[in-house]
């Protein structure tokens, strides 16, 4: 492993257990994410990746286990106590979760205005910059319902990024995008990592994307962390569960 390159943990998850409606989703999931790295989380559809991601920003509280962000244990905190840690994080929801009563520009401007930015010219400039980053300049006035699924996701990405969070959680950032835009999102994730030192956790099914962006890969299987390692270790693994994953997607690549 390459621990020497990653001095400190940003997120530490220990023995996370979650049950929803009698169904055990997470059964003791543990994971460390280091400062400035990109961790890709793989797993079967319905395996609990989105549920796991929601714990990292306090949207769900675990049945047992702890989540530590920076120095702070956030599992068990009250809603209002979570605000501080959430301000340093950004989350891209799987379905975008745009505010459908606001225009694209107002959606992206929302976090800025909520953090007290009152100078509209600054807001406009930052919104424009963020939309350019996701290749959507010129769509400021549209309503979310009038966007395609992929566009919606990219607006949501712009909204999550506009405040320059220290840590980003992406729930399938490239699903439903054409390969060219998907590639540009991958590059964007890398660029944020290199230029701003953003720590990223990316849930994806896209193996090509995984090998492009991942410093570490974790595989969520049956509620536990089944595999943790680098891309090379993932490629070299002979474990059938892991092989299914890596090869199952490799047919789609060309």
């Amino acid at each position: 492993m390459t621990e020497h390159a990653h001095p400190s943990e940003v997120i530490t998850v220990e023995n996370l257990v979650q049950t929803i409606g009698g169904q055990e989703i997470l059964r003791g999931f543990s994971l460390k994410v280091y400062q400035g790295e990109t961790l890709v989380l793989l797993g079967r559809s319905g395996g609990g990746k989105s549920v796991f991601l929601r714990h990292l920003i306090g949207l769900m509280q675990p049945v047992s286990g702890t989540v530590t962000v920076g120095q702070e244990v956030i599992s068990g905190l009250q809603e209002r106590e979570l605000a501080k840690v959430r301000r340093s994080m950004g989350m891209l929801f799987q379905n975008g979760a745009l505010f459908d009563s606001l225009t694209v520009a107002d959606n992206v401007a929302f976090p800025l205005r909520e953090r007290g930015e009152t100078d509209e010219s600054v807001v406009r400039a930052k919104v424009e910059e963020a939309l350019q980053m996701v290749d959507l300049a010129g769509n400021e006035g549209k309503m979310p319902v009038n966007l395609s699924g992929g566009m919606r996701k990219r607006v949501a990405l712009a909204r999550a990024l506009v405040n320059q969070p220290r840590c980003m959680l992406y729930d399938e950032p490239t699903a439903g995008l054409d390969p060219i835009v998907a590639d540009s999102i991958d590059l964007l994730i890398r660029r944020l990592q290199r230029k701003l030192g953003v720590t990223s956790i990316v849930v994806t099914h896209d193996m090509k994307s995984t090998f492009t962006i991942a410093d570490h890969v974790a595989l969520l299987h049956e509620g536990r962390c089944y595999f943790y390692g680098t891309c090379d270790q993932l490629r070299a693994s002979t474990d059938p569960v892991i092989r299914d994953f890596v090869e199952g997607r490799s047919h789609d690549e060309p």
Binding site: L59, K84, R86, E114
Partner: protein
Amino acid sequence: MAPARYVGDLIFSFARYLGDLALLAGETMRGIFHGQVRPQLVVQQIYEVGFRSQLVVLITGAFTGAVFATQTYFQFHRLQMDTAVGPVVSVSMFRELGPVLCGLMVAGRVGAAMSAELGTMKVTEQLDALRALAVHPVDYLVVPRFLAMVISMPLLVAECIGVGILAAYLLTTQILGVSETYYVHNMLHFTGGRDVAMGLIKGMVFGVVIVFVSCHQGLNAREGAVGVGRATTEAVVIGSLFILVVNFFLTMALNIFFPAGK
């Protein structure tokens, strides 16, 4: 034993529901006192719930006043107490009919809209998006609606009462031929500040009931479109029933401070 247990469960879940509403109210107050008021949203909500409810409320008030005046006139006319229609209509409008009917109409119009909007936001993860952006959903959604209702409802009730009394006056004096002077004189003589206060206080309380019941339904909506539909229906039904029940207790309590008649 089974029925007793059923009743017990019912009482328990009702108590828990009231507890939930109280928690929501507490969270709203905390939002307000921690300076989480967004004036722009309050204004927008006043426009939505106050300004745009006027037509409904005015029509309700006018026809209630008119029909009540007619019925009262037919009865009182036999006793040759025609001019008593004025005070009867005005006191009833102020103390009961105005606030209750206005409250019921607003529960239907505004309560449904609030629970549908918040419920849709819940099931499409927009509430989670708010939370992930470090914005408390109660601060952003419930606080402006609460303040807008507290400001708007007394005004809506006043409008409802106003047109009701006006309609009654016009009908009784212009069509049924009661003396205008005596009508007005009697009405003013028997209607006092206590009746006005009661009407406006009731209106404000009903506004608060509508906001918390509807927002609670919306924030707790489940399972897609069906869940939102159910939340909306229940917001209107529970809101309306609460208004009727709360009205009874409010009448009892307020009669101590603002006794009817003199």
